[in-house]
């Protein structure tokens, strides 16, 4: 059985892009090379497997990869073309269908050249080039090979093929005449690697699964990448690449041992942050806008602090304290900094950075629902709070229950009269939506839970009244009545939808595929999650180590199935 037909088109596009990358980078005059006498560097000893997936690197994965490969002091400067998220999916799964526009490629090229420049500057050269060229002003193929091969291995997350190695060595040599130096040539070669699809995309390749004849499974290097990006949000390190080279990652017990070590590492915090950044739609913070007249306290410092507060709270809860995932709805422990102090009206001791804080039992804040960041999201909340937006966010983001879009002709006018003294609170103004049969179907899903958060304004600051009228925060969720936001948090924590949602999202995040057809697997994972007392690291370990994560969906092969190809320049 062969992988999906659609991948064939992707692979052909990939090959074309690779050739473009190399042609662009090799538009230089040739020059003589001089042998340095160094032994040839190791290349891939076997052909690459069948390509079964292309997952574009996210910005954080790109940055983390550069930091881990070349050092945290290498600056990555430039604009990243965003990966567009389809409705109700993670960016992780839309990354498998994400292309790069010409403008986007130009941006990646600029970023890559900036990185390459630093990698071989005086401060970093000795770290990245262990050999000395015979003459710094001339090409030296052996030294270039020795320098570029390990770099390529880390960037491409697998050893270079022999032809790739030769291609990049040639780029480095050809570029000497343009740059005037051996190291200048190396910069061109690394810049070319950085815009290669083999770097910008995690190319997942597969091999026949010996345990399931006719089926395919991800090969070792693809497993190394999947493990590393799932758990640490970064490129595979030497340990993983070595394990892949030895074939250990297709050995179930060895895979589990490695995954366990990774889950116990402090680097799990990075992976957790990346996962929840995706699951909680944090890219919306980049486009958050608030009316400065209505919310003068909202500024850029507050805006950038909001998502960070959420992430710190989540990582502290799930990774540092290894607490029950469901406490994400009930915990009062959080972190604040000076920018957020006035919004929460709390003292912040330190001038810089974050300090732990616990919401008071009567603050009405608990869990993510009590955080200003969660309360502030939503384009409708520019000048006011929106119970419907908040309720929808809870349903879709935290419970994975999609809510249909409103009809195109809906009239928001009455609701937006926020200073209407005759209908002073949002609950009163929304009555129309909950009683109109056209609207009620969806608003019944969103408003009862969103209205419970109305004691927080559009930027999450507390308020006791609206237009002088008391705010009624009572409601019910799945048959559980509550009167405050903390009560709502407890009701959500008790809902199986919440735990099923995070399980499904974690699986989607790991595989880069939506979960259609995976109901039984998700149910089993949720059961295991419960057995593990809802510890999030344990969930990630289950997913990282189970064979299903590395199985490949297959279809009947066609006559002209494509393989991975690296087209080298004819020059």
């Amino acid at each position: 059985m062969k992988p999906k037909k659609t991948l064939r088109r992707a692979v052909l596009w990939l090959a074309a892009l690779s050739s473009v990358a190399l042609v662009v980078s090799t538009a230089v005059a040739t020059g003589p090379g001089t042998a340095s006498g160094a032994p040839p560097a190791v290349t891939l000893s076997e052909p690459l497997g069948q390509v079964v997936g292309l997952r574009r690197l996210t910005e954080s994965q790109y940055r983390n990869s550069i930091a881990d490969i070349f050092g945290p002091d290498i600056k990555v400067a430039g604009r990243f073309e965003p990966i567009v998220r389809p409705m109700h999916e993670l960016i992780a799964s839309s990354a498998t269908e994400s292309t790069i526009s010409p403008v986007g490629l130009a941006q990646f090229d600029a970023i890559g050249r900036g990185v390459a420049e630093q990698v071989f500057d005086n401060a970093h050269r000795a770290l990245n080039v262990k050999c000395l060229p015979m003459d710094d002003k001339l090409a030296d193929a052996n030294c270039a090979r020795e320098a570029l091969t390990p770099i390529g291995r880390y960037l491409f997350r697998r050893p270079l093929t022999a032809s790739e190695q030769a291609g990049y060595v040639k780029i480095a040599g050809d570029a000497v005449s343009t740059t005037g130096s051996f190291h200048g040539g190396l910069k061109y070669a690394v810049a070319a690697m950085l815009i290669s699809p083999d770097f910008l995309y995690v190319i997942e390749s597969a091999e026949p699964d010996p345990d399931h004849p006719g089926a395919w499974r991800l090969d070792n290097y693809s497993r190394a990448a999947r493990l590393s990006f799932l758990l640490w949000d970064t490129t595979p390190n030497e340990v993983l690449l070595e394990a892949a080279a030895k074939g250990e990652l297709t050995n179930q017990s060895k895979l589990t041992v490695i995954a366990s070590k990774m889950v116990k590492s402090p680097r799990l915090a990075s992976g957790t942050r990346a996962f929840f950044t995706d699951m909680l739609l944090f890219e919306k913070f980049d486009e958050m806008a608030k009316d400065s007249v209505i919310f003068p306290r909202f500024n850029s410092e507050v805006a950038s602090a909001m998502p960070e507060q959420l992430l710190r709270t989540i990582v502290d809860l799930l990774v540092t304290r290894q607490a029950d995932y469901r406490e994400i709805f009930t915990t009062r422990r959080t972190f604040v900094n000076r920018a957020l102090g006035p919004l929460y009206e709390v003292r912040v001791q330190d001038s810089q950075g974050w300090v732990p804080h616990e919401f008071g039992p009567n603050d009405g804040r608990a869990g993510v629902l009590g955080h200003a960041g969660f309360l502030s999201l939503g384009e409708a909340q520019v000048g006011r709070s929106s119970p419907t937006i908040r309720g929808r966010a809870i349903r879709e983001v935290l419970l994975c229950q999609p809510v249909p879009n409103p009809p195109g002709n809906v009239d928001f006018l009455d609701f937006e009269k926020v200073n209407n003294q005759a209908r002073p609170t949002a609950k009163i103004r929304l009555v129309e939506h909950s009683t109109n049969p056209v609207c009620a179907g969806c608003h019944k899903l969103t408003d009862p839970i969103g209205l419970t958060l109305e004691k927080f304004d559009g930027i999450g600051a507390p308020r006791a009244t609206e237009n002088g009228a008391p705010i009624d925060t009572s409601g019910d969720f799945e048959g559980v009545n509550y009167s405050t936001a903390t009560g709502l948090g407890k009701a959500l924590a008790a809902s199986q939808s919440a735990t099923e949602c995070v399980v499904g999202r974690a699986l989607e995040y790991a595989t880069g595929r939506t979960n259609s057809g995976n109901d039984a697997l998700i149910a089993a994972l949720e059961k295991g999650f419960k057995a593990d007392k809802y510890r999030f690291p344990a969930l990630l370990l289950r997913i990282a180590s189970m064979p299903e994560t590395y199985r490949v969906q297959t279809i009947k092969p066609s006559a002209d199935s494509a393989k991975v190809a690296m087209v080298t320049s004819s020059k």
């Binding site: 003068p296 500024n299 102090g341 006035p342 003292r347 912040v348 001791q349 001038s351």
Partner: protein, 406 residues
């Protein structure tokens, strides 16, 4: 006060009317004395303060100062400055030209260059000496025009409503009366600076350019001050409150409109020029007004000289919205008031036209504190600042304790 109609009245009725009028005037004075607006006069024992917030549960309140400038009272300019405004050095030089016709000639446009040479020479001293930097060599220069008005804001620092000079610390001086009618107000520096358009404003509003410069210094973080109260059991009456008055390196948090944000956090400065500017005072709250006992107070004053106030006093009037308005007073060293001019080099004279010698003469004449036992010359002058503070959290540090940071 009302005027009665023309019908003649009986003696008893007259007495009753005058009594009612007197009581009304007294009550009006008391209301004014409650510190409405900037006029933080003496507290009243009779009228209740406006509705104030409840005291904090832990007895601690913090504030960050967002406005801080000299306490200015603008009276009738004909009464305040009968000898004219302070002017610049050119104006001071012209007062030394005895013949009116010559003064008029020098001020003609075609003689501008000659006048400039003459006043700059006057400001430079013999042999081109920098007068501002060598001020003690020019003690014979006439004083700059001084304020002669009777009303000013400030404190009674010497507990003397008479002419002063009755103890070893003070020198004789004319007291002011506060706008609310409190007598014995010591604000001698207002006599020296009160005829300056920089303080009075070109429109006599009191909003001179110096006021904005002072306030801006607070908002930029350059010399931001914080106040922390502890042991507050009531914002209306409390006999014992501990007051910390210090500097912070943190600038006041502002919103998108540039207004101070309430409940931001600040930390008392731990290092650099501001370390040590941490004043612990004691005070009491009476009818919504906190007043501290007199004690030397020193705070960071920016690039030039600190706010060094001997026998300093702080008064805060709590507002219903949680803010506080108040006053800080004390005796400042004379030369500290000329530090900026003295450090300005020849520019202070030639460009800014500052009459350092004239101002120093005026300061020495008006000085009323820290009497030199040998010469009898007072070396400090009474001063008052107004301030506005908004609620914030103030994090203190213990003096001499290392703050570990990584």
């Amino acid at each position: 006060m009302t005027q009665e109609t023309a019908r003649p009245e009986t003696g008893a009725k007259t007495k009753a009317r005058l009594s009612r009028t007197a009581k009304l005037a007294s009550a009006l004075a008391i209301v004014l004395a409650m510190g409405v607006g900037h006029d933080a006069g003496a507290p009243s024992a009779i009228a209740a303060p406006p509705s104030l917030p409840a005291p904090p549960a832990d007895g601690e309140m913090g504030f960050v100062v967002v406005q801080f400038h000299q306490a200015v009272y603008i009276g009738d300019p004909k009464v305040d400055c009968p000898d004219g405004m302070l002017g610049v050095l050119k104006d001071s030089y012209l007062t030394t030209v005895p013949v009116a016709a010559e003064r008029a000639r020098l001020q003609l446009k075609q003689n501008e260059s000659e006048l400039q040479t003459k006043w700059q020479t006057y400001g430079a001293g013999p042999n081109g000496t920098n007068v501002c930097a060598n001020i003690n060599e020019f003690l014979d220069r006439p004083p700059t025009p001084m304020l002669t008005g009777r009303v000013a804001k400030g404190f009674d620092l010497d507990n003397d409503q008479g002419a002063g000079g009755n103890d070893s610390y003070t020198c004789k001086h004319d007291n002011f009366t506060s706008p609310a009618g409190e007598k014995g107000i010591d604000h001698q520096l207002w006599r020296v600076q009160g005829c300056s358009v920089q303080y009075r404003g070109t429109d006599e509003s009191g909003n001179g350019e110096i006021r904005k410069a002072y306030d801006d210094q607070m908002m930029t973080g350059q010399i931001t001050q914080v106040i922390r109260l502890r042991g507050v059991n009531s914002l209306v009456n409390d006999p014992d409150v501990q007051v910390l008055y210090a500097n912070t390196d943190d600038r006041p948090a502002v919103d998108s409109r540039g207004n101070p944000v309430f409940k931001a956090s600040y930390t008392v400065s731990t290092a650099g020029m501001k370390v040590g500017y941490r004043n612990l005072l004691r005070g009491r709250i009476v009818n919504g007004v906190l007043t501290t006992d007199q004690k030397d107070i020193i705070l960071h004053g920016g690039s030039y000289s600190p706010y060094d106030l001997a026998r300093g006093k702080l008064r805060l009037t709590f507002q219903p919205d949680g803010t506080a308005k108040g006053m800080l007073g004390g005796y400042k060293p004379l030369l500290s008031l000329l530090t900026a001019a003295r450090g300005g080099g020849r520019g202070s004279v030639n460009t800014a036209g500052i009459n350092c010698a004239g101002q120093y003469t005026a300061l020495r004449l008006m000085a009323d504190g820290d009497k030199d036992p040998k010469t009898g010359q007072c070396r400090r002058i009474s001063y008052a600042y107004e301030l506005v503070a908004v609620p914030g959290f103030v994090n203190d540090i213990q003096p001499n304790r290392k703050i570990a940071t990584k």
